[in-house]
Symmetry: C2
Subunit: 350 residues, 2 copies
């Protein structure tokens, strides 16, 4: 994935308001200038409606998925991406996990007074880059400014609308005993990438975030008529939390084979030193797919053809016990129950 | 409007986490408890999908409006409402201004560590009350927690989806010379209500915010086949900014008659003392409607039947000059050009 923001330069001259002022949020001339010069330049597309209170959109279907996420990642820039990439990928992925084709995003910005306009520009162009990469358009937005000390640079909310193709039904309710669980790649990089910059840790090799849009990978499964039962991206809480949640909502026991879960050597090393379990570290481009075992090989084949699924593999199975826990068998074959941490290992990772 | 929140008591016992902790945002047990006990209890409805990354929704039309707004009002509670009412009314109104029937809202919360859970409950139940009042359902959401000092209690983003009935086309592009401009009631109360609590000003009479959902009022116009050209709610920047924006986007000159704009005596008095122009003070339940003069009387009649339109009146007209300015004639008949303030009179009013 190329996460370089678009290489345009910021359209607001440096000598003219290099930092965000409270007045940029006030509905007056400065705010109009910020919207017209900065946001519109970056997000320009035929559906971005400026003169109106909302975007008017034609939908190719009557069944939609609708989702929202706020992004408060600290710091705003990290190895492999920035808050702008996350704000698009995260919401696109939530739509994809519903089996929807993501189409439209909204973008709500809460800017802290004093934020550098150049920083905002880098974030906004990263959003536009990610939107193009994901096949979605940012069609409506909002900007608020809060006083210095009442924010942390900037927070972004995106909401997304996607259409659900006829016949597609992907939900935790559809999980069945016998389903295999496929993971699309190595885990725990996003969380560690954030940690490395936040705590100024110098790892031996640079660990880049895995942030990426999963919509193409999901589309590849659906286009090839794989009867996917459930999809879930493993963000906050990591693969472990996601599996525990899905055991709970499906009611069935899940068993996982730890050695089958790809963890890069450097990532495993850092986790060991810091006392983290990679199963509970956040990812931003990783998902688990529940598919009937009859279609497991076909699903793996389709996923491995996609750049974001080349390391895809089966990591576990749904058992027929009506006992909603996750058991994990480790490298020496001993089995334990996977338990959700009460808080989180790292706050503000997305 | 009755803005009392639902009278249920907070479902999280006071002796158990009375304040928000960072771990409430972490994807672990505490966060699940907060979502299940607090948000789900307040927002319960058939479309609120818990087990999924987004809500799956059937739409009665193929043309939708999609909008978003973040709410950062300070303080969170003010005479006549709280941030929860605004977060629903504001987004519902943006959809209504597109001619859409608002159906679904998302809700994204950014909570500051240390926020009282009781406060959150009051806000969330106000949201549910306003949603019911507006005929929308809150179907998907997200919660993030930021460290103490990196927020201001709580920020809310809502995005909204509504359907646009066939044949309805409401847009600044449809403004035509000869259109009359109807305002639905007295102005400038919301901004002053915020100011009164923020600056601890004791006005002679209590000035309550006008926050309200305008969807019913718009529906009354559309149901009665009034060929509305354009609608705009007069929030940040007030009626003045809205008219200036619409003159600019339509390209036509707008003339306004100041004495025809209702301003309550106490509101006018406070504005005079503080040096504010009520035309540029925020409202949260006021809109301007542009209708052809042939339908002006009919539109007024329909609006006046609705509680939010009982004081509706014609405040101005669109001229045939292609000169995008707003002129305003005052009480003694002298005319001036209305100019947008460069910043805002009051920051963080919504």
């Amino acid at each position: 994935m190329n996460h370089n923001p678009l290489t345009w330069s910021c359209p607001i001259p440096k000598d003219q308001y290099p930092h965000i002022l409270l007045a940029h949020g006030g509905g007056g001339k400065l705010m109009h200038q910020l919207i017209q010069k900065l946001f519109v330049t970056a997000f320009r597309n035929p559906d971005l409606e400026l003169q109106h209170d909302g975007a008017l959109l034609d939908l190719p279907a009557n069944r939609i998925a609708f989702t929202t996420d706020s992004y408060v990642v600290r710091p705003l820039f990290f190895p492999g991406g920035n808050i702008g990439h996350l704000a698009v990928h995260g919401t696109v992925n939530d739509l994809a996990m519903c089996g929807a084709r993501p189409l439209f995003l909204s973008a709500g910005f809460i800017l802290e007074e004093g934020l550098s306009v150049d920083t905002l520009w880098d974030v906004v162009t990263a959003m536009q880059h990610s939107a193009q990469e994901s096949g979605v358009r940012i069609v409506t937005g909002d900007t608020k400014v809060v006083e210095k000390g009442k924010g942390d640079g900037l927070y972004i909310n995106t909401a997304g609308v996607g259409v659900i193709p006829e016949g597609v039904s992907i939900s935790p309710k559809n999980i069945r005993p016998g389903d295999v669980i496929i993971l699309n790649g190595d885990i725990a990089r996003h969380g560690l990438a954030i940690l490395s910059v936040r705590e100024s840790l110098a790892f031996e090799s640079e660990i880049l975030s895995d942030t990426a849009p999963l919509s193409g990978l999901v589309q590849a499964l659906l286009d090839n008529h794989i009867p996917v039962h459930c999809l879930r991206d493993a963000t906050r809480g990591g693969v472990g939390s996601v599996l525990i949640e899905l055991a709970e909502s499906s009611g069935f026991q899940i068993s996982v084979d730890e050695p089958s879960i790809p963890v890069r050597e450097d990532v495993r090393g850092v986790c060991e030193i810091l006392g983290f379990d990679p199963m509970f570290i956040a990812n931003e481009g990783r998902m688990v797919a529940f598919v009937p075992s009859s279609h497991a090989e076909q699903a793996l084949e389709q996923m491995r053809r996609h750049p974001l699924g080349k390391d895809a593999g089966i990591i576990g199975r749904v058992n027929d016990q009506k006992h909603p826990i996750v058991t994990i068998k480790n490298f020496i074959g001993s089995q334990r129950v996977l338990d959700m941490p009460s808080g989180e290992q790292l706050p503000r990772i997305c």
